[in-house]
């Protein structure tokens, strides 16, 4: 009876706050649209001024018996950036300075010559501008494509090295500076030396010297044959074989959906729960209610339930909106709601605790934001990015606040990831009890 009366009262108050009502409706729609479009469309390529100083007739280089067209690597690079062709270094610099491009990529004229020599590292020049995020974006794009180009060139160079080793081992024709040379090769040289050794008298002093050279040829044949494997390994020293130790691996896009839903659920629940309880103090009605009309437990539960219901409704609407752009497992919708309910109640319990401590709605909202934002960042810190000790501290902090557990519950419900939904919900239940107890203490007169 009292719970229904309080819920009805708070819903009326919310309905009569047009800004808040508009926010509750517009927020999920806008966020769903933004995330849906971001995840379903291709990433934008950064605009990069591009200056190729290689003369067109020198774009193809000769490496051993093979010809390599450097324009092929340009096309690889253009998959990652949007090239803006420029005619000179000065023009490239001007474009970067005035912000029309966020970087410039200059291919120097001597690049084919340096590559063909295979004796020195060839360089391209990149000039950056813009903020750290822009720089990181273009740097990552260019470096990843250059790494691919390097890998392709390394493979080509290893093939060239192989052909030279074969020539040294087995002999054959060597074409160099327009002339053709007949190369004997170590195998044939050893055979010839053996024949000469046999033909010499047993007492000839030359036999010992020829035997030494013959042994050298034998050793060279054995080891040069093995060096081809070494060169192939150097071209690609590390290859990746992927294996997930436990659970299913959540693709980044799907994880982003879980994060977006968790963040929305958190903001709506914490802000509403803290604001609605602080409003009771601001309107001086808390003392009136607490003089025996409503128990502390009932009042706190009512705020928590209302905030969780609205938070789940907003987050579910948002997830449905995202589902228009990104494929989701609709058969698991009941589990989504379960995870949202657990997360929503835990966030609301935290919000109620904030509302019980703070006496004004504005202060409660500010504190709610100050508490929630760092929790999101902490929960998303990857384990390898900080020291082990600091990561342990972050894990403890994340464990005593609901965001990490709510994210794990949503990730498990939406993407079937580990830990299981049951474990995450048990964690959230413990947090609900903890924050509920804290709220009751804070609400004592």
């Amino acid at each position: 009876m009292a719970l229904r009366a309080l819920l009805g009262k708070d819903l009326r108050i919310l309905r009569r706050s047009p800004a808040l009502l508009a926010l509750l409706i517009v927020y999920p729609v806008a966020i769903a649209l933004l995330i849906g479009l971001a995840l379903s469309s291709s990433p934008a390529r950064p605009r990069v001024a591009f200056l190729n100083e290689i003369p067109p007739n020198q774009a193809t280089i000769q490496l051993g018996s093979q010809q390599i067209n450097t324009t092929r690597y340009e096309q690889e690079l253009f998959q990652a950036i949007q090239p803006v062709p420029v005619g000179s270094m000065a023009e490239a610099l001007a474009d970067v300075r005035d912000g029309s491009t966020i970087a410039a990529l200059i291919i120097p004229p001597q690049l084919p010559e340096e590559l063909a020599s295979a004796a020195q590292t060839a360089y391209v020049q990149v000039i950056y501008n813009g903020n750290a995020i822009n720089q990181a974006l273009v740097q990552t794009a260019i470096e990843s494509k250059l790494a691919q180009a390097n890998a392709l060139l390394a493979t080509q160079l290893s093939h060239v090295a192989d052909s030279y080793i074969d020539l040294l081992l087995s002999g054959g024709e060597l074409h160099f500076l327009g002339s053709t040379y007949d190369v004997l090769g170590l195998v044939r040289a050893r055979t010839a030396l053996a024949a000469i050794e046999t033909a010499l008298p047993r007492s000839s002093p030359l036999r010992q010297r020829i035997a030494t050279v013959e042994n050298f040829a034998q050793i060279a044949v054995s080891h040069l044959g093995g060096s081809k494997k070494v060169i192939a390994a150097v071209a690609a020293p590390i290859a990746v074989r992927q294996r997930v130790v436990s659970g299913s691996r959540t693709p980044l896009n799907d994880y982003a959906v879980a994060v977006a839903v968790a963040v929305s659920l958190m903001f709506v629940c914490i802000l509403l729960a803290s604001g609605m309880l602080a409003l009771e103090r601001e309107e001086n009605t808390l003392a009136r209610l607490r003089r025996g009309l409503v128990s502390a437990g009932l009042l706190l539960s009512e705020k928590g339930i209302l905030a969780a219901i609205l938070g789940v409704a907003v987050s579910f609407a948002m997830l449905c909106g995202i589902g228009l752009f990104v494929p989701l497992g609709w058969g698991r919708a009941a589990l989504w709601l379960l995870a949202m309910a657990g997360g929503g109640l835990a966030f609301a319990a935290l919000g109620v605790a904030i509302g019980a401590i703070v006496h004004e709605v504005r202060a409660a909202s500010l504190l709610a934001l100050l508490v929630s934002l760092p929790l999101v960042f902490l929960a998303l810190v990857p384990s390898a990015s900080v020291s082990a000790g600091l990561y342990d501290v972050i894990r403890v902090v994340s464990a005593v606040f609901p965001f990490k557990a709510a994210l794990e519950a949503l990730d498990a419900a939406i993407n079937q990831s580990q830990p299981s939904l049951g474990i995450a919900l048990a964690h959230l239940a413990a947090l609900i009890v903890g924050f509920g107890a804290l709220s009751r203490i804070a609400l004592r007169p």
Partner: protein, 231 residues
């Protein structure tokens, strides 16, 4: 017939004693003024009587549930709800059997029927206080507790408020109110209780307080009474 009795009532907040050893009784249809300087413990005492604070020591004999109406110093109403919605909500929370009839009655008695659908946040300070008092009376309590009920009202609004309260007193409601306005205590209360630093210094009629100081002017008597006792 006694409506309310307090024996040795005390309240501590940590080491601070807000109210110490207060005893008094309030008969049916009686009006008691609780007077004292700022920080005397008037609001704390009323909060204990209203059930908002648990006494640290002492005994209280109160009317049954719903028998006490409380009107806090600052209006305690929901500004986004209408006058009628506020009254209906508290009628339901107080467990009033016929909430609709109670709302109708209070709208009539407070003269707020024409403003019943208006949000309380849009009312004048005087009308908000009338809603505040109407909520305190919604369950037709045997005892009405008011904490500085007229401090935010102009003289005309004060007169109308006391006219309204006196009607309730004539109907048998007992009233205890805290005030800084000694003239108001003299005019409307049959008994005064003087508090200072949580101690009860005097309980009796206003005339008795004047006689104790040989003063006809109650305000002067009150000031002299406190000064003699180091307050």
């Amino acid at each position: 017939m006694t409506s309310l009795e307090a024996h040795g009532l005390s309240k501590r907040f940590g080491d601070r004693v807000a109210v110490h050893d207060v005893s008094f009784s309030l008969g049916r249809g009686e009006v008691l003024a609780i007077i004292g300087p700022n920080g005397a413990g008037k609001t704390t005492l009323l909060s204990m009587l209203a059930g908002g604070l648990e006494p640290s020591e002492g005994e209280l004999k109160l009317p049954p549930a719903g028998g006490i109406g409380w009107v806090p110093q600052q209006t305690a109403v929901y500004s986004k709800l209408s006058v009628a919605e506020n009254l209906r909500l508290f009628a339901r929370l107080e467990g009033v059997a016929d909430a609709g009839a109670a709302v109708d009655r209070m709208l009539e008695q407070t003269g707020l029927r024409a403003r019943a659908g208006d949000e309380v946040g849009r009312l004048s300070g005087g009308n908000r206080q009338r809603v505040n008092i109407a909520i305190g009376l919604i369950s037709e309590p045997a005892v009405l507790l008011l904490d500085e009920p007229t401090s935010a009202l102009d003289p005309r609004q004060r007169a109308r408020l006391w006219e309204f309260i006196n009607d309730r007193v004539l109907a048998g409601t007992s009233v205890a109110f805290a005030t800084h306005d000694i003239a108001e205590a003299e005019r409307y209360a049959g008994a005064v209780l003087v508090l200072a630093d949580g101690e009860m210094l005097f309980a009796g009629s206003p005339a008795g307080l004047g006689a104790a100081e040989h003063e006809n002017d109650l305000e002067r008597a009150f000031v002299a009474f406190l000064a003699e006792r180091g307050h």
